[in-house]
Structure formats: structure tokens, C-alpha cells
Symmetry: C2
Subunit: 314 residues, 2 copies
């Protein structure tokens, strides 16, 4: 299936083909990047934003080349690029394009969300095409994007409309993985937590926007809150979950079984630091800084085994 | 006072000096831009993202040149630039820099917000400095930024920390101006709406981060909900409000008095389309497309008179 199909079908097909419901979070920090890459980039561009962007790009390319055949998808976190200004955003775009060339599904972790006309601008910029006179362009062209729902339906709707038109998809924040996510998300409204109300809205938006089994309007549900994940799984059977929080944020495979449906689908688990900075872990230290990409590959294999075992034991 | 002081003090000083608590929303859409500017930009760069970005920049520059002496601040909405990809973001940066040269306070309407380490990346990229080897850079360098609080304290804290270090400020979304803002924000939690809980958190974060009268941790409170604005004003006396929704979104001066404190301070009212596309309104049609910037100036003067009258009648 080429890029002509719905991206949610493509994601599911790739998960089935690889047998690995894992997304590698391409969230590069400069202190994750091995010395040899930094030195080369700074040698060429100096200690500049351009130098940082070049290092980020080369680092990403090495990891993608090492893992692209194992996994269905990547999730670049745009903040890690945006912090380096325009050159950083160029590295983001280059990463998105390269991952698509490598046939990976690209989830842009952008967490945008605004009032209607403004959300529409984000939506065309990231998932659709923007009109300029008689021409149109796809400026960032990720396959999926994450969206913040705090502004309600009219802030989300333009993203949904663009996804429908361009066969893209969303993951809308429902219950995030961070320690203080409960501060507002868990507050009880009419007998149930806010994140369940948000989840119901996501389900409602998604029902009108279905692929064959799952909606292309998905949800972000943090791995660090497995009981809430189980409950949302039951409430939102046709919603695909993007599950952050594995590894460095504390969740393990055993926490994850309930985020999946009985078909073994319905969720894709993100790990960022645990994959891209694997070479810094004792388990992969034998590979050294030079072997950072190979360490990422081994970390993906180990994470896949961990999740597979959890699903078998479930 | 130069850029060395706290930006909240600078904002207040400029409001007092101009007598106009207005921020011009620089949210350019291509169909706001007069034909002569589009033709020139497309003539030079073609109907490309670069051409769109050039048109946006020239349009902004004309408006800023026409209004900078009247108003304290501008609020570029980054989505309207991001939709044109990298060239669009270059136009955003150019606009931010130009407005600062013109001594305007620049509120970057970016509505970012994520888990802690990711929010930290956004914060250094937009309000602080990012380290690259032995050097550091201020990639976007807005004076204030808007932030989405859905992820709770650990998603907001890195922005607050960067503001403290670099004397910048925030406006955190509390009650937004859009029609469906109530869907989640108005839900009742323990007897009061969620936006009040968020408001209390903003007040709490702000209390530790005070300028002389007002905190540099402000709140976004939509002009379209005046009763809620009044209530929040009472609950958050030291919090500066950024008030969107005037004009095109429906609010008028008479709706706004209660967003201000008795000192006539505490709020700054945004208008975007009503100022930047004023030449399309019947009231300013005599100026024609060529006079679009002059129309913006007259729209600012009329809006200032409307708000002044509302404050006098209050």
C-alpha cells in the first residue's frame, strides 16, 4: 500500500508486518549526541544553531538507518528542534522527509491547538496543504500530529477536517504521562474524571472518521497510568492509543497489556530516550559512542521482546 | 527603561505612556493582504512559500510602521506563519525582531505546553537562550509567550523558570475566547468551573513571580465571556490578563471594563482582524487597499476610544 491509502491503515499494516507496536521518539538533546557527531557538525558549522541542527540531523539519520526495518513509526518531538530556531526546524523537516522516504509512519509530536481559524492554519501547515495564489504546498507533511484539546471542539475540528481530506490522522491528548497530569485531567466532573470526558469527545469525533477497524482520530494515553489506560481502553474500543512514558519515564511492558485490544492492536508505545540514547545505558555500553545507532537497534529489539511478553502473558 | 528590565514592567510602563491597553494581533492571512503587496512578493519569489512569507512580512511591516507609536504591544500568532513552513517561520522571526526594534513588547502567541523536559525546550527556544557547546543563542526571543496548561504544573514550570531568569513573562490559557471553550473549561469541579481552578494555579505560580504590582505570569481570559472575566478579575488581582476576542470575535468595549482593575491596569485587549484587516471594513473603505496601514492606525484609534469610554463609564 502506498501513501495513497489512509495513514491509520498504513500504521496498522506496518504494526502487523513488523510485529512491533513501537514508535521511536526522535527527541534529540545535544547531550544525547555522541562526541564524534558533535565534533564533525561543529567543525563544519561552528558552535551555532546551524551546527546544533546538523548534529541533530546526523544523529537522527544514524538511528533511523539502524532501526527503520524493525519499527512501524517514529515520533519526532518538534520542541527539541524548535529550541534551535529556524535551523532546528529545518532539521525537523529533514527528519520527517527522511523517515517518510524510509517508509516509516511519521507522528509529528506538535501538541498544537488553538481557536478554530488558528487551528486550521496549524492543520494545513502540518498535515495538509496551504494555498499560495494558484499553487499549494505541504509545508511539514507529517502523517499524524498530536493535538491539545483544552479549547474544545472548535479548536480540534479543523485538524479533523484536514485529516479527512488528506487521509492523515491525529492523536489527541487525553491522559498525559507526566507526574502532574492529574492536576487538571483527573479532576472529577459529574462523577468521572475530566480525561474520561475528553476521551468520550475523542471517541465521538472518531466515530465519524473511521478507517476499517480503527478511527484515524486517536488518543494520547500515558503508559505511566495503567489503570486509567485500561479504563479508557474499555470506553474507546475503536480509538488507537499513542502511549508515551515507557522506559525513561518509568513504565515497563507489564504495565502495557491493558492499553491493547484483544486483537493485539489499538496501541503503539513510544520510547524516546530509551531508544535514541540507549548507548548511555549499562546494557549497551559495550557498543560505545561509535555504536550508538546499533545500541538503538538493540534497545528496540529488547523493548519489542518486553512488550511481546507482556501481551502473551495478558 | 531598556530591555534590561522585567518585561511586565515595560508592558505596564508602555500602557501608561500610550494610554492604550491594546495589543495588535499580527495574524496575517493571505486574503487580508492587499493586492499590491501580494503581486510584488509573488513577482519576486513566485507563488511559493517564500513568496507568501515575503508578502506576510511586508504587510506586517507596513502595519507596524503605522501603529507602533500608538500601542504598547503586538501579538504575532505563530500558526499563521508556521502554515507557510520554514519561510513562514522566518517571517515570524523577522516580525518579532522588527517589533522589538520599534520598541514594542512582543507577545508570541505560541500556545505551547508539554511534559517538563519538552516544555523546557520550548521555553529556551522562545523566551530564553539555548546552549550549543560553549555558545548560547536566543532563537526566537519573544518577550512573552502564551502557554497551554492542560498538562499541569510540571508542564508550565519550565516556562516560569526561564521567564524568571530572562525577565520575560507568560500568559497562560485560563478561559479562551472561542465558542466551544466551555466544553472542558467550564465543567464544574468541586463546585466551581475548571477555568477557576486553572486560574487559581496561575495565581499561585504568579505569586512567587512578581513585578512591582503585577506578576509576570499572566492569564488569557477571553473578552467574549465578560461575566467570567469579572469573576476571575476578583480572584486574581495581581494577574495581568491578555484578553482576546474583541472585534471580529464579537466583544465590544462595554464588555471589557470588568477585566481591568480600579487602577485602569491589569488587562491588555487584543484585536487581530479588526486592526490588521481594517481596510476591508466599511468604516475605513475610503482609504482603499493602498491605505491599509493607515486604516489599521484609524482602527487602533477607534478601538482605543471605545475602551477608554468603557473604562470611564465603569
Amino acid at each position: 500500500m502506498g501513501r495513497d491509502g489512509r495513514l491509520i491503515e498504513r500504521l496498522i499494516e506496518k504494526i502487523k508486518k513488523t510485529g512491533v507496536p513501537i514508535v521511536a521518539g526522535l527527541d534529540p538533546m545535544l547531550d544525547y549526541i555522541p562526541r564524534q557527531i558533535l565534533e564533525k557538525a561543529f567543525g563544519e558549522y561552528g558552535e551555532t544553531l546551524e551546527g546544533a541542527a546538523e548534529a541533530v540531523w546526523q544523529f537522527n539519520k544514524g538511528i533511523v538507518d539502524a532501526v527503520y526495518d524493525l519499527i512501524p513509526a517514529v515520533k519526532p518531538q518538534i520542541a527539541m528542534y524548535e529550541q534551535f530556531g529556524i535551523p532546528g526546524l529545518e532539521a525537523y523537516k529533514r527528519t520527517v522527509d527522511y523517515c517518510r522516504e524510509k517508509d516509516l509512519v511519521v507522528i509529528g509530536d506538535i501538541k498544537r491547538g488553538d481557536i478554530g481559524s488558528t487551528s486550521a492554519a496549524y492543520a494545513v501547515g502540518h498535515l495538509g496543504r496551504v494555498q499560495v495564489g494558484s499553487q499549494s504546498f505541504a509545508p511539514f507533511d507529517e502523517d499524524f500530529a498530536t493535538v491539545n484539546p483544552y479549547l474544545g471542539t472548535d479548536g480540534v475540528r479543523p485538524f479533523v477536517d484536514v485529516c479527512k481530506e488528506y487521509k492523515k490522522g491525529l492523536f489527541i491528548l487525553v491522559k498525559t504521562s507526566n507526574p502532574s497530569s492529574g492536576e487538571f485531567q483527573d479532576r472529577i466532573v459529574d462523577g468521572k474524571p475530566l480525561y474520561e470526558w475528553v476521551g468520550e469527545k475523542v471517541d465521538e469525533w472518531g466515530r465519524e472518521h473511521m478507517g476499517s477497524q480503527y478511527s484515524y482520530i486517536g488518543a494520547v494515553v500515558g503508559a505511566t497510568y495503567p489503570e486509567m489506560g485500561r479504563r479508557l481502553r474499555g470506553l474507546m474500543p475503536r480509538t488507537f492509543f499513542l502511549v508515551p512514558g515507557y522506559g525513561a519515564q518509568g513504565a515497563r511492558g507489564a504495565d502495557l497489556a491493558d492499553f491493547f485490544n484483544e486483537d493485539g492492536l489499538g496501541a503503539i508505545v513510544n520510547s524516546s530516550r530509551g531508544i535514541i540514547a540507549a548507548y548511555k545505558q549499562a546494557a549497551y555500553a559495550d557498543l560505545g559512542e561509535e555504536g550508538y545507532a546499533q545500541a538503538s537497534r538493540r534497545a528496540v529489539e529488547d523493548m519489542a521482546a518486553d512488550i511481546r511478553q507482556a501481551l502473551e502473558n495478558a
